[in-house]
Amino acid sequence: MSFLPPRLLLAAFGFLIFVASVLAKNTSLQSAWEFAEVNLFSDSNRAFRELKGQPGVDERERAFGEAVTYLNVQPRTPQNIARSQELLKTLISGNDRYTQLAEFYLARIDEDYLIPPESERAKAAYLELLTRRTGNPLVESAAVRLALMAELSAADPEGRREALLATRSLAQNLLTREGRRDFHLNLGLALIKAGDLPEGLKELLAADTEGITRPLTERGAWVAIAETARVTGQTELATKYYRKFLEKYSRDTRSYMLEQRLKEVETPQP
């Protein structure tokens, strides 16, 4: 390959930089969010940064976008996490959608991103966010996190059971169907694991009435409901859910075993 005289190389390089910056100019907030949606976090972060100070761009949304993408820019370094925290802190004033999301993600950073994690601070933030009844499904997922934290809080099953039951009151703060459903489901599974079958069953039934839309999650919930009902002697409830499962998910690895269980439950023992 022939050696280009140095001067020409420099010119070409300069031109490339210019083209790149023009291209970036017409990326909108929407395309930046789409990058993030398909795991292209570095491109998304760069797009958000380039949109700073552009006319007609909602600065609060832009700042939130930049902050949230810093969490997954590779490589993940403490400096990036700190930048994300600073940006989120600028959004806390006021009470619009971005304030609530900013507080939620600050708590998320405390829970999982800091080494060592600030679990107590995160727990308090989640609690405070929920009492404000934001009606935002993502923010309401904090309830699931509180339930899981409660499950982990005590080593012995008895302590775990009390901690879990204490979180029940959070339910009335949840205004969205998604928030209530996920909370009841995970609380129910945790209560069953801690040994409190009747309460766990109640929670699972509450989640099912809210409507689980994801087939994979629905299957797990129905099996848990049917099995717990059988063990606690509520045979017709168990029969109902065994049939519901076998009818909708006939080809599942558990179907054979559930058929056996259904036979046991249907024919009343002599």
Binding site: Q74, P75, R76, T77, P78
Partner: protein, 315 residues
């Protein structure tokens, strides 16, 4: 040695630097860059993909309490010492061929020496796995035929090794105590064709008159070796020892093929290189493997530096 050159003349000869540029560029991009990147990644939690998390010196502190890594240095130490002894047959063969009278035979032996080099490594591996096979293998058959096995069984009872039993074919690669001996027996005559030819080259520069003088004084063949032949090939021996040292410390191919990634029974076959491979490809901890690689590099660097410093041989 290269001619000394004054500063001014060197400036005149600047074109000479162009000669080394291509090699430097090639070596910098394809040897140095991967190493620098390995050093960079040894500070990260990295699964080989492009999601990585900065963890500072955590990988290195983990090495301190990585028991498996440290015990693997015992195995590699034994193998290095064994490999030093395994160089003797090559020197012995070189001397034997050198002392032959007829030139014709010397040439044909050199040709025969080169033939095994062209046989693919997989064939040799097949033969040796066959050799160690517990049921139809040669080693067990030979031991049984020569009643050596019976003697081994008695010795075993006496010392309580718990390895050799009456009527039970010994699993040479399945028994923790036998793994290192099996690795040492591997490749039995231990002849490195290139090594022998290099030693032969060194021996050739001994003039005929030295041998005549030695014969007159009635010098035995052993003394002849120690005082005439060995000193002359010292430089080649040291070179091949350094290359062997580096090769053994870094190598893990044989252990992987024979014993698998966990170093076989009792983990006795585990060597540092194999542990690096295990952490990278089995546990998926590439960052940690890079840190191990860096540690191994510094360790070998130290060893070769000591070797050059204390094993001084004047040219």
């Amino acid at each position: 040695m290269a001619l000394p050159i004054s500063k001014t003349k060197a400036l005149l000869e600047w074109k000479l630097y162009l000669f080394i540029v291509p090699s430097m560029v090639l070596v910098a991009t394809f040897s140095y860059y991967p190493t620098i990147s390995a050093i960079y990644h040894s500070f990260f939690l990295w699964g080989g993909g492009d999601t990585k998390e900065f963890v500072g010196l955590k990988n290195f502190t983990d090495i301190l309490n990585d028991k498996v890594f440290w015990t693997s240095f015992i195995t590699i130490g034994i193998l290095v010492i064994a490999n030093i002894f395994r160089m003797i047959p090559s020197i012995f063969l070189a001397v034997l061929i050198h002392r032959l009278k007829s030139d014709r035979w010397q040439y044909w032996y050199r040709v025969l020496l080169v033939v095994p080099m062209i046989v693919p490594g997989l064939v040799t591996l097949f033969i040796w796995k066959f050799f160690f096979d517990p049921n139809l293998g040669v080693l067990n058959a030979a031991l049984d035929a020569s009643h050596l096995k019976v003697m081994l069984v008695h010795l075993d009872k006496f010392f309580g090794w718990g390895v050799f039993f009456e009527g039970v074919p010994t699993a040479w690669l399945g028994e923790p105590a036998l793994i290192i001996p099996a690795l040492i027996i591997w490749g039995f005559p231990w002849i490195g064709a290139v090594g022998v030819l290099i030693f032969l080259a060194g021996l050739q520069s001994i003039g005929a008159e030295i041998y005549e003088a030695a014969d007159l004084d009635g010098v035995t063949s052993l003394q002849k070796f120690l005082h005439i032949e060995f000193p002359l090939i010292m430089t080649q021996v040291r070179l091949s020892m350094v290359l062997m040292l580096i090769g053994t410390l870094q190598g893990y191919g044989l252990q992987f093929l024979l014993l698998g990634p966990d170093g076989g029974a009792g983990g006795r076959g585990m060597v540092p290189g194999l542990w690096m491979f295990n952490r990278a490809f089995i546990a998926g901890e590439f960052g940690y493997a890079c840190a191990l690689g860096l540690f191994l590099f510094v360790f070998i660097l130290g060893l070769t530096w000591i070797n050059n410093k204390f094993v001084k041989v004047d040219k």
